[in-house]
Each structure stands twice: as C-alpha cells, then as structure tokens.
Amino acid sequence: MTSFVYELLMAGLIALKEYIALHVLTCLIPAFLLAGAMVTFVSRETIIYYLGAAANKVRSFALASGGSFFVAACSCTVIPVSSGLYYAGAGVGVAFIVLWVAPATNILAIVYTGTLLGSKMVITRIITALLMAFIVGFVMNYAFRKEEVRRVSFYSLKKGVNVIGKKEALLLFLLALTLLLPNYLVAKSPYSRKVLVWAIGMTITFLYALKAIDRERIRRWFDETWWFVRMIFPLLLLGVFIVGIIGKVLPSSFVQKYLGGASVFSSWFATVIGQLMYFATMTEAPFVHKMLELGMGKGPSIALLLTGPGMSLPNILAIIKVFGLKKGLVYVFLIMCLGTFAGWFAGNYIF
C-alpha cells in the first residue's frame, strides 16, 4: 500500500519535472510576460468599442474572433466581457464568439500547447477554434434572431485611443520572438542552446523596454504578469501533478478503447470530457500529452484541447445564469456537435 502511494507521488513529481521544470525558463516566463504585456499595452476598451459598434456581420465576427485573442487570457475574465457586450447591445453571435474564442485560443494555452505537442497540433487547434467561432456566431444569431430586434441600441462607449502604440507593438513583437525562437525554431537543438537563444532575446527585449517605455507602465506590465503567475501557476502545478497520477492509474486499454483512433464516438467522448471537466488554463496541454501516450487518437485530442479550456461545468452554469437557460443550452449543444465534428474531421483528414 505504502509503495503504491509512493509510486503515485513519484508519478506526479515526474510529471512536474517533465511539464513544468523543463519549460519554466524558455516557455513559461516569456509566455506570462507576453500575456501581461498584452493586458497592459493593448487597449482592450478600444477593441471592445469596435466589437460593439461593428454592424456588418462578417466584419464583426472576424473582429470578435481576432480581438478576443487580446481581450482575455483565461475563461475567468471572459464572461463579464461577453455579457457586457451582449447587454450593451452587441449581437448575440458576437457575444458568444468572444465567449468561445478567448478561452479556447488564449495566448498562454496556445504557447504551451505548441511547446508540448508540436506546431501541427497547435495550428490545427487555432484554425478549428476560429472556424467553430464563426459557426457559433451564425447559429446563435439565427436561433435568436427574433429577440435581436427587440434589443436596445449600443450604450455610449468611449472610443478611446489606438489599439496599441508603435513602441508597445514592437515590444510585444520582441517578446513573441523570444518565446517562439527557443521553442520552435531551435526546438531540436540541445537545451543549452535554447537557453542561450532565450537569454539573448530576453536581454534585447528588456533593454528595449527600458529605453522606449516609461517606468510607470513597465511597473504596470510586471504587476499584470505577476497576477497571471499568481492566479494560474498554482493551478498549473496542481493540474500537472494530477495528470501524472492519472497517467499512472488510468489503464491504457481504457483510453485506447474509448478515446483511441478517429471514430465519431471517441471524438464525442473527448468533447464531453472537455466540456464538463474544469481545466485551468494551460493544464489541458499536459493532460492531452499524457492521454496521447496512453493511446488517445489525435482527432479526439483536438476536441479535448478545444473544449477543455473553452468550457467546464461551472462555466456552463455561469453562462446559463447570465444569458438564460435557452441560449446556454443551445450553445453547449452546439459546441458538443462542433467539437465532435472537429475531432472526427481532424483525426481522419489532417493527421
């Protein structure tokens, strides 16, 4: 009995080493800094203004899908934004696009998915999330078209400043490079070279920041980064530890039977697990990595990567509370169908 407990603890610790320790320097630190910089330097008020004001449907959908990426970095902040847009008069489609895209393709999760699972997986994740967003937008608009007419017009919103200044945009670009170069371009070289590339990127980024950005805003940037670390990192540690233990106790015959291959059933099953289970942002990547090792198919993996962070039982309840039972259920059912289809399609035609 004690040796079994010991083995479980070891499995958890090994997962922590494999998924966290090895990635702290080159992936997690720059990813958190980038997320913090996006929150500080990108004017989210301006993005939201454009989202609310865009009348033309295709344009507002495209804006909502692209803009959400910068608006929120985890599902916790997205409900106020989405419901705010809705109750301020934006189309129901736009509101639900924001609700879906922001957590499903947030910057932290995307970066981490790419590092652990490779670029093909992460590109498929981004593209399917965006396609799903457009369909969600159209279906929600169509299903609730009668209510739309009765809705109030947009509240007075401040237009504010530019979305981002030139200096700040360059800083974001440098940070993105620091993040991408060690993890993707020199991914196959030894760890020491990755660290070297990382160190050079970091140095250039910080020297530039000190020169171009005033101290007050640099302080704000670090504050926001620290918030992300404080909120997400403990959950990530716990999540990865649990992933290690699951990898130890879950029989791979079970995974192969219910989540293996690229059948409709395994994609559906992966989608439902993702929809109901709560995955703290980023934890879905090591979870899927572990499940792939145990025999899950790549198609179902995509379904799980999308619905894992995009939805959870507490999240569903909050959505129903804010948007009403009917819209909540239509949305949940729609994501279930789309997630299943995306997984099945990716498994059969992409991988």
Binding site: R44, T77, P80, S83, G84, A88, D223, W227
Partner: protein, 77 residues
C-alpha cells in the same frame, strides 16, 4: 458621504481591489459607503466591460485592472 462601487463577479482581482479601497479609506480617515456590484447585466450601464471596475461618486475611475494603492488614495482625496 462618498459613494464607492466595486464592479466584479468575485474574482481574485475584485477582492484585491476591495481590500485596497478599504485600506485607503482607513488610512485617509474617510467615511464612505462601499457597495459591491456583482450583477454583470448592469456593468455596461456604467460603461464597464473589463472587471474589476471602480466607480467613485458615479464616475468610473478604472476598469480591467487593479489600480495601485497610491492611485486609489489620490482618487479618494
């Protein structure tokens, strides 16, 4: 008496904002009525889309971030 509203759904940042506001009020010795507004449906009527939002005497002072302690004190003076 000053009227302060804190807009948020109970997230970590909202609680931090509330703590800072209370500390600032205490330090400045100001009496104020502090209300927590958690109904997201009314956020847009304030013009607040990002939580937490801080509204002092009906005016939105900050949204989407936790202002520093010094900033809050400045606004309350």
């Amino acid at each position: 008496m000053r009227k302060i509203e804190i807009l948020g759904m109970g997230c970590a940042k909202c609680m931090e904002l509330e703590a800072r506001v209370k500390r600032a009020l205490e330090e400045l010795g100001i009496e104020a009525e502090v209300n927590k507004v958690s109904d997201v449906k009314v956020f847009p009527s304030y013009g607040v889309f990002m939580t937490p939002g801080l509204v002092i005497d009906g005016e939105v002072k900050s949204a989407g971030r936790v202002p520093s302690f010094e900033e809050i004190k400045e606004w309350l003076k």
